[in-house]
Subunit: 167 residues, 2 copies
Amino acid sequence: MGTRWLDQEEMAAWLRLVAITELLPGVLDAQLRRDADLSHFEYFVLAMLSEAPERTLRMSALAQRTNATLARLSHVVRRLEERHLVERFPCPEDARATNARLTGSGWETVVAAAPDHVGHVRDKVLDALAPDQVRQLADIGDAVLARLDPEGRMTALYRPGQPDSGR
Amino acid sequence: MGTRWLDQEEMAAWLRLVAITELLPGVLDAQLRRDADLSHFEYFVLAMLSEAPERTLRMSALAQRTNATLARLSHVVRRLEERHLVERFPCPEDARATNARLTGSGWETVVAAAPDHVGHVRDKVLDALAPDQVRQLADIGDAVLARLDPEGRMTALYRPGQPDSGR
DNA sequence: CGCAGAAGGTTGTAGCGTCAAGTAAGTCGG
DNA sequence: CCGACTTACTTGACGCTACAACCTTCTGCG
């Protein structure tokens, strides 16, 4: 009983957010698939590795940075390994853990894909927004992510960086 | 050459948007799956039908309102039909077309699921935002969707409505 | 009319993600 | 230092979505 329904403004905001989460993955995937033969998630994984020291991360660390479950990441990294974009090797300090390292070919792939991808992100999203809105979006994102991901598994990102990409 | 990389604020906004599109679907699915044995997309389909005149829509109209391809919708509606939440019948005016209609049981399912779902949407998203931010989000959503979906396939939504839900 | 092409759906398949299990290696209390 | 628990993955099966092929039914135009 006593459900607080959504008023018109809430509904407007909510529907748009749902529409974006429904459409954005397809748009990102399509461009990267076409230009670099990578899904957005694969690109993101490679980009995270490309920024890490030694271009290497433990699976669990990589999973956090990419908001993925370990199971998902394991499948994806296996496929990337089959394409020689990434290699896996046991972690010396902890024999339970696996490290994933970007190969030379993987590095080249990310570097080649990054400019077009960033351009696309600008086209489809960032350049549609006024500078104020970019800031608002970051703040809104923070507020929402604090609830969606209370453990903050996915945070710890976005330093100034530049050679990477849209991450 | 001359790629305009993302500056810090752009990167911050972008990473948060990506994180949300990665996390939100799982969060919505989990709650609805648990409480109503529906995926978010299935719920959305039922909700759209529940608002339509006669609780009936043509497949193609339903596809637009749900941002789905016809192929995807066809599979989903088939599964919903097997569960007797929806029924399909040929459209009288156009023999090519198929109508989907919510059954009584489907109606009850949506009505039963809506309050918890709206509560969850509030918890995880809307109540995390100040009223200003809700408006900003709607505006940002409009701007982005204009680029993601230039044809405006998914628009035409959000009337004041109330008996429905988070749609 | 008659036929070409468009519109509206359905279906099969392949690929990716989730969930549940399983394995192997650390950790911690007694 | 031994058993119980936890951590860090990996794997297999199943479900859902995209893509492509296909079948009807309309529509337009010569």
